[in-house]
């Protein structure tokens, strides 16, 4: 099937979990920390916050609103990410919250945080280099650094890697293949 149960701009309301014992509301800062524990299912080295798909968290009266922007139109992890966020909030004892999927402005790799980029590199994935706005249609002059040995002598094997968000590269120095998280 094309979709899970919720279309674009859908709202998922949950009231299954009873209020936590103290009844105290988590601060926005605590909530960002909470969601920073939710890992991207495809690249578990990085959290959904570091990936930049969590766009906003705010209290509106007694309801928490979390806005999520999917990475790619056809990203199969989109619904899973939303479920993981939902269950993280439920486990933290949140009773009333709404998840909103927002398409515009479109997600860009510019939103991946500096910490996220570093974690990608440690994981063996070259982080996006430069700004997405400079993506050119013809030719690609950017130099992609090997995440294993730091060499700049690398070449593209394929425009698409294991997922749509990555391209496949090969290092001519250490000879290792690696994924490059491409600019979008």
């Amino acid at each position: 099937m094309l979709s899970g149960k919720h279309p674009m701009d859908s709202l998922i309301a949950s009231d299954r979990i009873p209020a936590n014992a103290s009844g105290e509301r988590l601060s926005i800062e605590q909530l960002w920390q909470l969601l920073d524990e939710v890992k991207d299912p495809e690249v578990p080295a990085i959290s959904v916050v570091e990936l930049g798909v969590v766009r906003s968290i705010e209290w509106q009266d007694d309801t928490l609103h979390v806005c999520v922007t999917p990475t790619y139109s056809g990203c199969p992890a989109t619904e899973l990410i939303e479920q993981m966020i939902q269950s993280a909030l439920e486990q933290a004892g949140l009773r009333q919250f709404q998840l909103e999927t927002r398409l515009a402005p479109a997600w860009t790799t510019d939103w991946i945080t500096p910490a996220g980029r570093e974690k990608l590199r440690e994981f063996g994935i070259a982080p996006p280099q430069g700004s997405a706005s400079k993506l050119s249609l013809m030719g690609h002059s950017e130099i992609i650094e090997c995440p294993h040995c730091g060499s700049q002598q690398t070449e593209q094997v394929s425009e698409f890697g294991s997922t749509a968000c990555k391209a496949l590269y090969r290092c001519r120095d250490c000879l290792e293949p690696f994924d490059y998280f491409k600019c979008i």
Binding site: G74, L137, L168, I184
Partner: protein, 253 residues
Amino acid sequence: MTQQEALQQYLLRLADSDMVLGQRLCELCGHAPALEEELALMNLGLDLIGQARNWYEYAAELEGKGNDADYLAFRRDAGEFRNLLLVEQPNGDYAMTMARQFFFDAWHYQTLQALVNSSDERIAQVAGKAIKEVTYHLRRSIEWMKRLGNGTEESHQRMEVAVEELWRFTGELIEADEVDLMMAEAGIGADPEAVKSAWKQMVTDVMTEATLTLQDENAWMHVGGKRGIHTEHLGFLLAEMQFLPRAYPDAVW
């Protein structure tokens, strides 16, 4: 035709072309010539099916009959599909798969670029997302046109055959009909003249660089896909794509 009806048709054309080409690409799962190509084609297909979903959801809302994206994709027959004839053509050899992709990507890219500025906010949003993905699709298919065109004698020959075979389906990409004109006039759709000249320019440039024979602009063209008149290939494609939801209605997992 009211503007609302034209918009509905316009959305279905975008959605159906994405969906049908996505399905064609998925047929190559397990059959691509190399692992890297398999990964690329499946990701392309996934992008297109995701974009199709976004267009279908909007079309279903406008239609207001309580149908959803799944209904539009899986419960309509060939005569109700509005995709371009080009995208329903079989995969053939790899030259055929890539030539089809290039002709489509070049059109898709120009169209989406225009739709980013659509006066319809929802269309602009979906296009804004899709254009980023399609830029990569087009970059890749341009590379393949050059690679096969300038490759060995055999790859060049096969690409020549592919281009010649598919050319008669390209007229539909750039010939405007009533729906296209109404949408352009309303500021909702792409300006057909602008898409046409940009598409022609890009095709000429890439094919020249790929040392491929430029085809006759005034050649006779197959049309009809945008009105629901299809080649025999679409029915077979839909039979496979729609089998499960039709055999087990409302199945979920």
